[in-house]
Symmetry: C2
Subunit: 153 residues, 2 copies
């Protein structure tokens, strides 16, 4: 009966997939795209190593899936949920895809391109800027990444 | 017998493919990747419309091809030739792929992410910065783009 409790199924699902992604040996990041009705239309974990593809970040894979399903390179009215701050590549892809809202988890001071580094959405030449909400599930996301890199060392 | 003449087969080929790309109804941009021996290992024209894929810029497609061929997400010692200044998405992908040298044609003040806008390689958090050479075949590239957009209006 707590009306203020913030349920966030999409990010919960993304965190679960990020954990599985880490278990598969990939940097544990995952993304989900929901349509205007809030239905999940695409989800992907990072697959850079498995696919030998430097562009195979979770966000790019989810955007490609969603665009194929929608039959359009533009995902107007769709939202993207990702467990980590997108890098510049993914932020620019989110802009190209006309994603409506970007929800992300942990900040990424080292490689992020939204609140750090290239700050892709902050330039006058950025043709589409999504609404951005950060910090959702950030602790769980950061813990996944910390554990992953600790095990690798 | 002009020893100073600059032959640039890779960009010539990229310009030819960019023209074909425009004839197919896509924004006329093309990219080529050469390996350490200067051999072409991947080439692609922009396919955003055909593939319904906002990430299907020429550079991303060529990088994905080359990485698949090399069996590695990192294209150390490979060079990328593209007819237009890469956008932020492609510039960051070039960085992720560890491309050694980037050669590009026309400047893109509206959407470029190398010398304009997000200036992806200019941030301290950019983990790999290729050597960048611009202006190669720039006039032909700009003419292709101008003609394409003039026909569309």
């Amino acid at each position: 009966m707590n009306g203020t409790m913030f349920r966030n199924d999409a990010m919960t699902d993304a965190l679960r997939l990020a954990a599985e992604t880490g278990e598969a040996g990939e940097v544990p990041v995952a993304a989900i795209i929901t349509d205007s009705a809030g239905e999940v239309i695409a989800m992907a974990g990072n697959r850079v190593e498995r696919d030998h593809d430097p562009s195979a970040h979770a966000e790019i894979l989810a955007i490609r899936q969603a665009a194929a399903i929608m039959g359009s390179a533009r995902l107007n009215d769709c939202d993207l949920w990702v467990t980590l701050e997108p890098c510049a590549m993914c932020a620019a892809a989110i802009s190209h895809a006309r994603i409506r809202r970007l929800y992300y988890g942990a900040d990424d001071p080292k490689s992020g391109g939204v609140a750090h580094g290239a700050r892709v959405f902050s330039h006058a030449t950025c043709h589409h800027k999504p609404e951005v909400y950060s910090g959702i599930g950030a602790e769980q996301s950061a813990a996944l990444l910390k554990d992953f890199f600790a095990r690798r060392r």
